[in-house]
């Protein structure tokens, strides 16, 4: 298992998955997935579409029957239970609010199923709506709400049944950018306040880093890395994790002493405790441009392409053995296409050596 940690201590983890596998015909949607998540933590399942993250979430929720493996919630194996008997609640992509019921009735739905007394239901629904700041909307129909409001109803509908595990499938993908960031923060605060073990599916690394205690990076049905967000960013465990999280310079070469030599490009200083490996990973932001003759220059090339990305500009530097991507601050005197420049490493600790 790659990057497996022990976050749960001795007591049962909030969620523990082991050996989870699901095939659709010959195609393996998820293979041998395993991790432990401590109670109250938020995990995001991060990966491109088709990587198996949604299948994994649906397996936890009970909508996909796994071929093999176990799912334990606070020590209890829930793998054989139908969805309605699992201690999980899901915020579906698109929210899946019941269109023929009011906001209050949507939120009360799960409680009615538990045959909770009417008076108690009313109180809990009121509290849940207050928690998502929708008290005024209780009698509206879902179609009368904005996307953000609908999402909060979906959240309230889950929280009100007090699940052990909260599952969210791409919860913010239907929202526009500003609202998305606002809702991400809101969800994170609410989740921390309630201390509920949560799993979120996303394809957006930014979202994963903002929300998470833990990130599980997946590709092609496999779990590549289970780590803290900083660990994923700073020390990608595989070439896939590196490139998926924006490490665009992946250079083949070999270490020679304290330097990593990339044929046709140059020599890069390595951090002190670099592991052995034949691949050097450098984020564009870990590089800077210098004069071609600067002693710090690790490589020399020609500016081929400049793109504005906001506060920074992304430059592509053509070297004889390949291109390097370098992010530079935008200020007067920025490089122009065709100029000869040197490329230096901003900070040796930001260089990552990968096995392959």
């Amino acid at each position: 298992m790659i990057g497996e940690k022990e976050p749960g201590g001795i007591s049962a983890a909030g969620l523990e998955v082991s050996g989870l596998t699901k095939h659709y015909g010959a195609h393996a949607a998820i293979q041998q997935i395993g991790f432990r998540l401590e109670r109250g933590a938020l995990l995001t399942l991060l990966g491109p579409s088709g990587c198996g993250k949604t299948t994994l979430l649906r397996a936890i929720g009970g909508f996909v029957a796994a071929d093999a493996g176990r799912i334990l919630v606070e020590g209890q194996d829930i793998g054989a239970l139908p969805p309605e008997r699992r201690p999980t609640a899901t915020v579906f992509q698109g929210y899946a609010l019941f269109p023929h019921m009011s906001v209050a009735a949507n939120v009360a739905y799960g409680l009615k199923m538990q045959r909770i007394p009417r008076a108690e239901i009313a109180g809990r629904v009121r509290d849940a709506l207050a928690a998502v700041q929708l008290s005024a909307m209780a009698e509206r129909m879902p179609s009368q709400l904005s996307g953000g409001q609908q999402q909060r109803v979906a959240l309230a509908r889950c929280l009100v049944v007090r699940p052990r595990i909260l599952l969210l499938d791409e919860p913010f993908s239907a929202l526009d950018r500003n609202l998305r960031e606002e809702m991400q923060v809101e969800l994170r605060k609410l989740q921390q306040r309630l201390g509920i073990t949560t799993v979120v599916v996303t394809h957006d690394q930014q979202e994963a880093f903002i929300l998470s205690d833990w990130v599980a990076v997946m590709n092609a049905g496999r779990l590549h890395q289970f780590d803290r967000p900083a660990g994923v960013y700073d020390a990608p465990a595989t070439r896939f994790v590196a490139s998926f999280t924006g490490m665009t310079n992946l250079l083949e070469g070999q270490a020679e002493g304290q330097e990593f030599v990339v044929p046709g490009i140059g020599r890069f200083p390595l951090p002190a405790a670099a592991p052995p490996g034949s691949l050097l990973g450098l984020r564009p932001g870990a590089l800077r441009l210098v004069e071609p003759g600067d002693p710090a220059a690790c490589a020399v090339g020609e500016v081929g392409f400049v793109a504005m990305t906001g506060a920074e500009a992304l430059c592509e530097i053509a070297c004889p053995g390949g291109a390097l991507q370098v992010a530079v601050p935008r200020r007067p005197g920025a490089p122009v296409t065709g100029a000869r420049v040197g490329v230096a490493l901003a900070e040796p600790s930001q260089a990552v050596v990968l096995a392959a």
């Binding site: 698109g94 019941f98 799960g110």
Partner: protein, 285 residues
């Protein structure tokens, strides 16, 4: 302006239809020349008054509406589970197979089908032979030449119309809603009752309105399978024209029946609108 041009063909068709109806209904103002098949003036409302006074058609109208409503309900009861199965089965093969069977019933002509029912439902037919051989009955059970046989043939005729309408309605209920219900602690049966069924009710109402309209206008199956005992409004009108040759009164009965049928369908349409407002799936995925 462009829109008007596009609507033109539809307007022409409507105008021709309305004109045809209009001339037929105007015939109701004339009267039959006794002993002949001819109609003549002067214009009078006598036939309309005779109709309103209950010119023999009232029991036929009541029978027809009662029978049509009964058939519609039976069709819905049989058709809904079938539609649900087709809409929700995981097996593509089964879905295509059932749809193909339903569509195939559309393709067989009514006369062919009526003869088919005679072979199946007769006292010496397949069904009775089966039941006799299985020892379930000792005497052939009379199905053909009475209302039961006509009803079976008509339900079979109505089913594809109902099912194909409702399959769409059920498929439009997002799976995610059923999953959300399960997720919130509701078992499959209660999920069906609380989510799937209510949200497919507008389609059910539409399918029932279609079935009702078709059942009300049934003619051939009562004639061929009813043994002379099942006489619906269409058969009554047919008799007025082709036996009594009283075309003016037939026109009046037709007009009256059209009004009654439209009223019934308007009620169904109103019900559907009500259900749609209450159980709309639109706007949400």
């Amino acid at each position: 302006m462009k829109r008007n041009l596009v609507a033109l063909p539809a307007m022409v068709v409507l105008a021709v239809l309305a004109g045809a109806y209009g001339s037929f209904f105007a015939t109701g103002l004339l009267r039959q020349v006794p002993g002949t098949a001819s109609v003549a003036g002067p214009l009078s409302l006598d036939n309309y008054l005779r109709f309103l006074a209950g010119g023999g058609q009232v029991p036929v109208f009541l029978d027809t509406f009662g029978f049509a409503v009964l058939l519609t309900l039976i069709t819905a009861l049989i058709g809904y589970p079938l539609a649900y199965f087709i809409a929700r089965t995981e097996s593509r093969f089964l879905r295509v197979f059932f749809l193909a069977v339903l569509v195939a019933t559309f393709l067989s002509g009514s006369v062919t089908r009526a003869y088919g029912w005679m072979v199946i439902l007769g006292n010496r037919g397949l069904l009775n032979s089966l039941l006799l051989n299985a020892g379930l009955i000792e005497q052939p059970f009379r199905i053909l030449y009475r209302q039961l046989g006509v009803g079976i043939a008509l339900v079979h005729f109505l089913l594809p119309f109902f099912v194909l309408t409702v399959v769409g309605g059920i498929r439009n209920v997002p799976r995610a809603l059923e999953e959300a219900s399960r997720d919130l602690g509701c078992g499959p049966a209660r999920t069906f009752m609380r989510v799937t069924l209510p949200l497919s009710l507008p389609a059910v109402a539409e399918g029932m309105a279609l079935s009702l309209a078709l059942a009300l206008s049934a003619f051939l199956f009562p004639l061929m399978l009813g043994g002379g005992r099942v006489r619906l409004v269409a058969n009554y009108i047919y008799d007025q024209i082709f036996v009594a040759f009283d075309i003016p009164f037939a026109a009046v009965v037709s007009a009256g029946f059209l009004v009654c049928s439209c009223a019934a369908l308007l009620v169904m349409a109103g019900l559907q609108r009500l259900l749609l407002r209450r159980f709309a799936t639109g706007g949400l995925t």
